[in-house]
């Protein structure tokens, strides 16, 4: 398989996913299949095709620099699992 178990665990850690050993094996296989497919695309000669960052035919979607107030702090915090003094409250991040 293209992906090692270690790589799967690393990707899971980046996405903050806790996987058990069975899941690691499952995703190792699934993700490897996907990568293999991309490997086939890789083999195509795309020399004559410009790099593509989007499939949409639109460009330059911009807005004017104008202010709109759309939400109150209460609305913004409404779905927060925990709030404190108008702030989102989260577990402390270790500052090292």
């Amino acid at each position: 398989m293209i992906l090692s178990r270690e790589e799967v665990k690393h990707i899971a850690a980046l996405a903050r996913l806790a996987l058990d050993e069975q899941e690691v094996a499952l995703y190792q296989e699934q993700l490897s299949t996907i990568l293999e497919y991309f490997g086939r695309l890789q083999a195509l000669d795309t020399g004559a095709i410009p790099p593509t960052a989007t499939v949409l035919p639109i460009r330059n979607v911009m807005r004017d620099d104008e202010q709109v107030l759309s939400s109150t702090p209460e609305e913004i915090l409404a779905n927060a699992p925990a709030a404190d003094e108008g702030c989102f409250s989260v577990s402390a991040v270790l500052e090292t």
Binding site: A13, L14, A53, L56, R63, L69, S70, P73, V93
Partner: protein, 484 residues
């Protein structure tokens, strides 16, 4: 062995637009005074299903900055997602730019002791700022998203700097450019400009690029200078003791004056950039670029050259005046309001001398100095002989502390110069009569006493006498006594 430092700088500059980078929430330069989460909407709070839309003015200001820094503006630019988890980043990724930044391949010239040096700029790209975290010390942290989504321009230099002095010269010049361009206020205390320094050392003259330490989150020129100096010294010491430098991210401990390795961020560089599907690429037409170029203000280098050419200033004085846009504006405003024919050079001397000194003493910037109209009035009073230069300096001090005009101070305190020949003649005669010993000594050859006698006359007039006139009268009366 002799070592040299190799330093590159990443500068994060806030772009002071009215609204945020991807949503219409207001931008305030200092969110410290604002109740938390006041200027936050579903877009900058990272709610699912929202769509960011690019702020045109932020793009324009970024391109203008790039043009001022002699960058190329590629025809296509693209936003990318930089993924990492941190509570101040609501979406779990920061919208930034990776492969196709707005500006590439520029430079900034700095002045060093050896002359002008060119610092190459690799790229300048746009991104959004994160929120603010407050650590409560009880196992929790508070998150305020007022700052989240504020436009930032990240300006990345090549590792072209070799000393702390060059780093500071580059950072201050860049700061000056950003203020001239109106990108932000330049107010460092409000965090509008933040630095990251990449520092490595190598044997002097070598071309090697050794593993570097990346010092994060430097918010002042002082922290930048101290941390880079510390890194250079400690890396050289490590190498001299046979140690090895490993590539590492460091934090700056201001109170202890040392850099410390940042642990527990082993995934920090695994950002998995990819083009943001929410944001269609930008196609930047040459016409748009030229329109923006035409709208560039006069930049410090050009203004300095003009000051030297048009006002006859020395390169040094011109450099002092243009370093800050507000000071250069102050100088030209003062010149334009003069009623007398005072020389531009004399006005420059007033500002770089007395005004700067009093700004230092009063701990204020040029906005705290008497306005240009009042400085012009003071210089006029000196120029037309109403007061002498020394009195003028005293009056300026009083203008700083009381905020009153030069004319008011001169009138109320009776400081007008005494140019009345008859009155001065009497005072000179009194002084000479009062100091017969010194007069005799002078006349028998101790000519250096002239200055002392002159001082006595000035003192007798509380410094108000016209010094040129006093000199003439004193000479005449002393000579009269010689023959008498």
């Amino acid at each position: 062995m002799k070592y040299e430092a190799v330093i590159g700088l990443e500068v994060h500059a806030q772009i002071h637009t009215r609204s945020k980078m991807f949503c219409p929430c207001p931008v305030v330069e200092d969110t410290g005074d604002l109740p938390p989460n006041t200027y936050v909407c579903p877009v900058c709070a990272g709610m699912p299903g929202t769509l960011p839309v690019i702020n045109r003015r932020a793009i324009e200001m970024a391109i203008k900055t790039g043009l001022a820094l002699h960058c190329e503006i590629p025809p296509v630019s693209c936003f990318a997602r930089k993924s990492y988890f941190y509570p101040d980043l609501p979406k779990g990724y920061q919208i930034s730019q990776y492969e196709l930044p707005l500006c590439v391949n520029g430079y900034l010239d700095i002045e060093t002791e050896e002359g002008t040096k060119r610092i190459r700029i690799t790229r300048a790209h746009m991104e959004e700022d994160a929120g603010k975290l407050y650590h409560m010390g009880d196992g929790s942290s508070r998150v305020d998203l007022n700052r989240a989504g504020v436009p930032l321009l990240e300006i990345v230099s090549e590792p072209d700097m070799r000393s702390v002095a060059e780093v500071i010269a580059y950072a201050t010049r860049l700061h000056s450019y950003l203020v001239y361009l109106g990108v932000n206020s330049g107010d460092m205390e409000k965090g509008v400009m933040r630095f990251e320094a990449n520092v490595s050392v190598r044997p002097a003259g070598s071309d090697a690029l050794n593993p570097r330490h990346e010092i994060k989150n430097l918010n002042s020129f002082r922290a930048l200078a101290r941390s880079v100096a510390y890194e250079i010294e400690s890396q050289i010491a490590t190498l001299e003791q046979g140690g090895v430098i490993v590539q590492q991210t460091m934090g700056w401990d201001e109170s202890r004056g040392i850099t410390v390795p940042q642990r527990g961020k082993e995934y920090a560089h695994d950002y998995r950039y990819f083009p943001d599907p929410d944001l269609p690429p930008l196609e930047i037409s040459r016409a748009w670029v030229e329109e923006l170029r035409a709208g560039l203000p006069e930049l410090p280098d050009a203004r300095r050259a003009r000051f030297i050419r048009d006002y006859g200033l020395s390169a040094y004085d011109a450099g002092l005046l243009v370093a800050e846009r507000a000071v250069a504006d102050y100088y030209e405003s003062t010149l334009s309001q003069l009623a007398s024919a005072a020389e531009p050079k004399a006005v420059a001397n007033w500002i770089t001398g007395e005004v700067f000194r009093l700004m230092n003493e009063n701990g204020c910037t040029i906005t705290g100095a008497p306005p240009p109209s009042q400085l012009a009035e003071l210089i006029d009073l000196v120029q037309d002989g109403t007061i002498n230069l020394n009195t003028g300096k005293r009056v300026l001090e009083e203008m700083f502390t009381t905020g009153r005009s030069a004319r008011q101070i001169v009138e109320e305190r009776g400081l007008a110069q005494i140019s009345d020949t008859a009155a001065l003649e009497r005072i000179v005669a009194q002084v000479l009569n009062g100091h017969p010993t010194e007069v005799t000594q002078y006349l028998s050859g101790k000519v250096q006493l002239f200055g002392w006698l002159m001082g006595q006359v000035m003192r007798a007039t509380q410094g108000k006498a016209n010094p040129q006139l006093v000199k003439e009268l004193l000479q005449a009366q002393l000579e009269a006594r010689r023959s008498g």
